[in-house]
């Protein structure tokens, strides 16, 4: 039986892992390769590396981190942040990534989804959506690290992403991100209802129960979190045992 995935996300800035609240106030945490290996040993099902600087001069440092991780860690990982062109896809896949996530660039140029899916296969194209209920009261797609409201409907964009060839959707709720009060169940499940590709919840995990809430009905395929893992507030192994005991399909670690 296919299991639900627990996915630590590592935001990388200048070769270090950082974590901020609502995309601001970045705090330095740890060496990414070391942390990746630790999570893999603990039972993480997958890892996400997010290049939050995405400036050209730091790009090589980041690719270097990806390569080093691929040497040490034998579970899948996704790269996101600053992916704009097919060439960017090629570079990170060559460096050892399994999947590539696009966010703002896909909103600005949806063709990138189509082209990359044709070239590399849908399964390695992840559409990452930053969502927020905007001032007008509807769920809108935000870009540029949550700073710009595109006024695009989140559900429509998710469907369009699937049509263009995305193999997975990560839905990150800006309002719950970093607040540790649980995933946004509403928008995450709405998206899972309207697409037929895996959906990963992101933003808001604070305790074990938050993971259970989002995974237990089976419609969501995985849960992504950062700070609760980075600061050791939740141990992945214990989390997986807890989910298993609560009837969530999970890959347990011996």
């Amino acid at each position: 039986m296919l299991t639900k995935r627990i996915i630590p996300c590592l935001d990388v800035n200048k070769g270090r892992v950082v974590k901020g609240k609502k995309f601001k106030n970045l705090v330095d945490v740890e060496d990414p390769v070391k942390l990746a290996k630790f999570y893999s040993d603990e039972g993480a099902d997958e890892l996400v590396f997010y290049d939050i600087t995405a400036s050209n001069e730091n790009r090589d440092i980041f690719l270097n981190v990806v390569e080093k991780t691929a040497q040490e860690v034998y579970i899948p990982f996704t790269i996101g942040g600053g992916i704009r062109t097919i060439d960017d896809f090629t570079k990170v896949l060559r460096a050892g990534a399994d999947k590539v996530s696009v966010n703002s660039a896909a909103v600005k140029n949806p063709k990138i989804i189509q082209e990359s899916a044709l070239k590399f296969g849908r399964q390695c194209v992840v559409l990452s959506i930053d969502a927020k209920k905007n001032e007008e009261g509807f769920w809108s797609v935000y870009i540029n690290g949550g700073r710009v409201d595109t006024k695009m409907d989140v559900l429509k964009w998710a469907k369009e992403g699937e049509r263009l060839g995305a193999g997975e959707i990560v839905i990150n709720s800006i309002d719950t991100d970093g607040v540790k009060d649980g995933y946004d169940l509403f928008i995450t499940k709405e998206i899972a209802k309207c697409v037929n590709i895996p959906v990963i919840a992101s933003g808001g995990a604070g305790k074990k129960e938050d993971f259970l809430k989002v995974l237990k009905d089976g419609s969501i395929d995985g849960a992504l979190a950062a700070s609760v893992f980075h600061y050791g507030e939740i141990k992945i192994k214990a989390l997986k045992e807890y989910l298993y005991e609560n009837d969530v399909a999970i890959r347990r670690i011996k």
């Binding site: 296919l2 099902d45 691929a70 034998y74 399994d98 296969g121 849908r122 399964q123 193999g167």
Partner: protein, 200 residues
Amino acid sequence: MIAIVDYGVGNLKSVYKALEKLGFEAIITSKEEEINQSKAIILPGVGAFKDAMDHLIESGLIDCLKKNVKEGKPILGICLGMQLFYEKSYEDGAWNGLGLLEGEVVRFEDQLKVPHMGWNDLIEGVKDEIGKDINGEYVYFVHSYYVKPKRKEEVLFWTNYGIEVPAVIRKDNIFGMQFHPEKSGETGMRLLKNFGELIK
């Protein structure tokens, strides 16, 4: 020496690093001589079927691969690499594969989430040395298409995704893994080790 065939697609480094970690000598190559000199071949694959076949044709390596397989050299196809062994794929069209094995590659039914992505367990089919001590363990799958083999006796392990999906196949010296052993933690490493040990 294990030759990892570089034909312009896929995640070659991960396979290479995993073999290196296991203590096997490996080389990433697109050279015919090096493939001929190797003791085993790995055909990796991430991407789309047609694109991969086009690259294989352009690389001029198809005859070389077929010759090596015919001579009895162990070859392991990973994910799309395994699918390429079969006669035909219906991924965004209808394309011919290498035809080393009989069967077709088809898409999952629409009621399932596609791709089949994540960790799923291995259910033993035909007992084989390469799958020793593996039954029931989890490995990482990422694929939208799966193999419908002509012969069930070529399937060493299945996995269940609404339907039975061949996960590890073997016919003589031809091996295939639909999942990514190089990304399947300790279980995947053991399967790669079992393959590598065939040449010792």
